[in-house]
Symmetry: C2
Subunit: 104 residues, 2 copies
Amino acid sequence: MMEHDIFRALADPTRRTIFEKLAAGSMNASALRQGMDISQPAMSQHLAVLRAARLVREQKEGRFVNYEVDPDGLALIAQWLAKYRAYWPARIDALKLLLKDMDQ
Amino acid sequence: MMEHDIFRALADPTRRTIFEKLAAGSMNASALRQGMDISQPAMSQHLAVLRAARLVREQKEGRFVNYEVDPDGLALIAQWLAKYRAYWPARIDALKLLLKDMDQ
DNA sequence: ACGACACATAAGCACATACTTATGCGATTC
DNA sequence: GAATCGCATAAGTATGTGCTTATGTGTCGT
């Protein structure tokens, strides 16, 4: 199940941090480790989970692997969220901000 | 951390099923168990996790406890998602559907 | 008042998961 | 072509998680 992979991937705080770093700009696995106190295999395993969830995608460049945010995963979350639109609060500031952003 | 509780809560397929059932209409814990092959304590524990994540809220009615979707949790997910709007694909069908839904 | 009911909580157990160290595999450098 | 580098994978281990079987707490019916 796709949404299962996504929510399971995002359930780990380390993986959310990795995703946020990639959202700020794509980079390779070694660069991602900077300032994170995480071993190389651990990073590799986390990236594999994020990749399986389609939250992240890889782009091989020689012996480096550049990682970037995969829009597909975010779209799937948006799709999941849309199912419950009937319950979205009408006046919460966060939602108003979201609507404004989406309205472009 | 709020978003941690939310993603961790949604990482479990049984809890997502419970949430979906509640989205279709609020009901008490016993009613939720119908057709789910889950013990009473297990249901109670799942509901406690969903409650802690603000995805669900309770409304005590005598010896029954009516559960319903809590819009706060959904708003927090929307807020999290909004942070990455720069990566939302412009032309993916799912997003177009979402936009249409949100536009009411 | 007593039992039945709806639900929560406690404790224990089986399994999943996130880490570690060790090793493998290509691509690059010398 | 040998060593090094960037990354993936394997295997083992400690902790987390979801379940179970009691048991507790408050409410209702009789």
